[in-house]
Symmetry: D2
Subunit: 135 residues, 4 copies
Amino acid sequence: MFINTTTVRVRYAETDRMGYVYYGNYATYYEVGRVEALRELGVSYKSMEDSGFLLPVIDYTIKYFKPAFYDELLTVKTLIKILPSARIHFYYEIYNEKEEKLNQGETTLVFINKSTNKPCAAPDWFLEKIKKHFQ
Amino acid sequence: MFINTTTVRVRYAETDRMGYVYYGNYATYYEVGRVEALRELGVSYKSMEDSGFLLPVIDYTIKYFKPAFYDELLTVKTLIKILPSARIHFYYEIYNEKEEKLNQGETTLVFINKSTNKPCAAPDWFLEKIKKHFQ
Amino acid sequence: MFINTTTVRVRYAETDRMGYVYYGNYATYYEVGRVEALRELGVSYKSMEDSGFLLPVIDYTIKYFKPAFYDELLTVKTLIKILPSARIHFYYEIYNEKEEKLNQGETTLVFINKSTNKPCAAPDWFLEKIKKHFQ
Amino acid sequence: MFINTTTVRVRYAETDRMGYVYYGNYATYYEVGRVEALRELGVSYKSMEDSGFLLPVIDYTIKYFKPAFYDELLTVKTLIKILPSARIHFYYEIYNEKEEKLNQGETTLVFINKSTNKPCAAPDWFLEKIKKHFQ
């Protein structure tokens, strides 16, 4: 299992008239979480795309326990629990500064070969980097 | 059961570098869907808030089958399958102009009394308007 | 001179904790305005991009007079005052349902040849469609 | 004069199908810039709002020189050149990792008394903190 922790500060743009972070914006915080998780593994999401792989999300689930508010420094915890193959699962938890769990979610992403536009296996060099954490 | 159908045109702002609508933006399209569903039922979401009720989302699930692209005119189909009580479930499907189903999802919203900040039952006048569709 | 009028309804996602439309979101409403203006002229912004032209914005100015609020149906008025050449200027005004002017702005966009990535003249077929309105 | 420097990493959500950061999203980066500038001055924008002052933007200008791309770590430079009174001007410049200036802009914000909803002078404690930098 691999765990990454990163932070995001809530922007004014991300709040809504209820004073909460808009429910749709956590998808972006989760994106930050998984990109930083990959970076910690030595994988740049950008260079993976540039090398010919797309990684679209095929499902996304989130449960909201408490709202996040403007200017809070949130902690995004991203977990890879299962060794990726043709798809990669990420689990997420977001905490506020009082260490209250605000929400948790999951996404599944699939590897797509950019030139064929078809699903494909994860590139070998990518699996090599991740495997170490699953032994 | 109650079904509403509305349309949204994909904005440039909502696309990402993959050329797809960013996976997080469907939450906003679903919001448009449920607000228009309520409007068709004679309920203004805004006036409901103004009358003392908040309706935060407590869970959200989406499955993505195909991407939506820039400038497409999408159809958002919103369904209320279960008569609401203290919570209200919405089901959604989004279709492109070729009538391909692009994604489907669900959200649960809870009624919160603004002054107590606690969950409460749906207001009677709201239930009255919806009940007709569940007989 | 060419004038187009279109409407956008304010989404919850677009409001902020002040209860206003976030100041950065008008750029998106202006985008909707100019795309609909071009559509009325018979030009699909999308097909222009697909045919090899990018149209990035090089400057943008906006003055805010009054806020827009959740669920308001705003009118976006888009004006092309000067016949475009290598660049195209758009002027915008946004009104609420009481016909109060909420803000006004301008953008300049330049034609970029996608293959050379360099500025270029507007395509002839594009100019033909616009010229009629400047005679 | 007061200068603050902070960084933002470009999120996937913020790119558009051109592969650039969407032109409307710099408003959010500038927001991050001015909030961090105020924080460095010892002023929490949030607590200023909580203490009864709103600070809406009344004008905003930006000139775009070069695009920003996905995953770039941008530097936002925020300058307060003029001692604020009933309004506060911010100047901004954004640089990429090659130290190329990507864009520059300005915003004017006005102090609004939340209870009267009318423009008012900047609170004294706020001016005190800023004044030191203008001597």
